[in-house]
């Protein structure tokens, strides 16, 4: 099968499965919103502090919601030996990775929209003036985060205690996207000229490309039995 068809087949399959039980997406959104909610009690940000705290808050919420979702994406495959079925299919393992990764990216994007909406409402902050650059920043950082998270989720699915294993693998490796996400989001939300934080967006983009390519090449080994 041509790579592109494998990618779309896996992507559509994951979306269909999600549409039928709606577990992953709901838990990601609820969890993300809960982080925003708890944050309010932890820091009680006054109006003028919001801009300083908001980028960090958003990225913590994204990071945790993401880990939750990635874990589900492979845990579900294991429950009914779905992974064995996928493994048997005579297709390129890298394409399977891309399909899963795109599905995770799609779920992350929805969860992020929900989190941003909740944060915007509760902290009385309008994202509209800087929406374009904010969206671009978030896209690249999320791509890097999902790109590596999907691979690590597949790795962690092989272990006992996979719920613990995934964040332990994911967070140290994802440090660059996390820093870039917070810094570029700060710049974008403040309305700074793009030149000031373009370096961070470039770093996130470079990270994304490197880790998607690396995962694409290594996924074969993650899947083998």
């Amino acid at each position: 099968m041509p790579t592109l068809r494998v990618v779309t087949t896996i992507f559509v399959k994951d979306l269909r499965v999600e549409w039928r039980h709606r577990e992953t997406l709901v838990s990601m959104c609820v969890f993300g919103v809960l982080v925003v909610f708890l944050f309010n009690f932890a820091f009680e940000p006054a109006r003028e502090e919001t801009l300083r705290l908001l980028p960090g808050l958003l990225w913590i919420a994204f990071a945790f919601a993401g880990v939750l979702g990635f874990n589900r994406s492979f845990a579900a495959e294991r429950e009914n030996a779905g992974l064995e079925g996928i493994r048997l299919a005579p297709v390129e393992p890298g394409a399977i990775y891309l399909g899963k990764m795109l599905a995770n990216l799609f779920f992350m994007a929805i969860a992020e929209v929900v989190v941003v909406f909740a944060a915007s409402l509760w902290y009385n902050f309008s994202f509209l003036p800087s929406l374009g650059w904010f969206a671009l920043t978030t896209f690249f950082c999320t791509l890097g985060y999902v790109g590596i998270g999907t691979t690590f989720a597949a790795v962690a699915a092989n272990t006992r205690m996979r719920e613990v294993m995934l964040p332990v693998l994911q967070f140290p490796v994802a440090v660059p996207v996390f820093i870039a996400g917070v810094e570029a989001t700060t710049g974008a939300l403040k309305g700074d000229p793009v030149g000031d934080y373009a370096g961070w967006i470039r770093l996130a983009a470079a990270f994304s490309v490197i880790f998607v390519v690396l995962s694409y090449l290594l996924f074969e080994y993650v899947l083998e039995e």
């Binding site: 962690a156 006992r160 140290p172 820093i179 770093l203 080994y221 039995e225």
Partner: protein, 226 residues
Amino acid sequence: MRRTFPPLVHLLVTLAWLLVAMAMIFLYAPQEATMGEVQRIFYVHVSAAWTALLAYFLIFLGSVRYLWKRQPAADDFAYGSAEVGFVFCTGVLVTGPLWAKPVWGIWWTWDARLTLTFVLWLLFVAYLMLRSYVINPARSAVLGAVVGIIGFVDVPLDYMAIRWWRTQHPQPVIAGGEGSGLDPRMWVVLLVTWGAFLCLFSYLLRQYLRLAELRRGVAELQRERD
């Protein structure tokens, strides 16, 4: 190797070398002008850091070789480097704050190199945890290799990100800009200490390799018996 350089000799050389290094740190190395005696921890700190970085590189080499050739020995090499490297990395994180408290007045700061060392330490932890959570040894080796390679590629990116983010660590005294530089005697002590650490590292690693080999032998004998 075993015959020409038996482990016992290796151990004795390591111990003697460590003693010499220690004596040189306290007796031969000149006292630093502003930091005083506490600066002597520098020799241990930097040597441990270099050794930990080397261990990280060895994990990468072992991982690539394992995925390519599928020799259990290559995986042992990666895993042993991780175990021993983790100890050295922990040493860096312990000696750093001991020096920082009297000199900077604080135990820890989220400066670039400190943060990166901490990330490196977390990567060691992640690798070792993963290895112990996968039951099947062959799977454990393959997944460990994947994580070892990804982690290695990640380090330069982490370094760039964290460096842009902030920097407070003393600028590199070695091969740094103008005004940096070590007294030649300090250089000698540093290299002797690093040599002793490398000797210790290689001793521990080779003992691990031997242990892993014996373990595989035992497993094989058990299989034959059953």
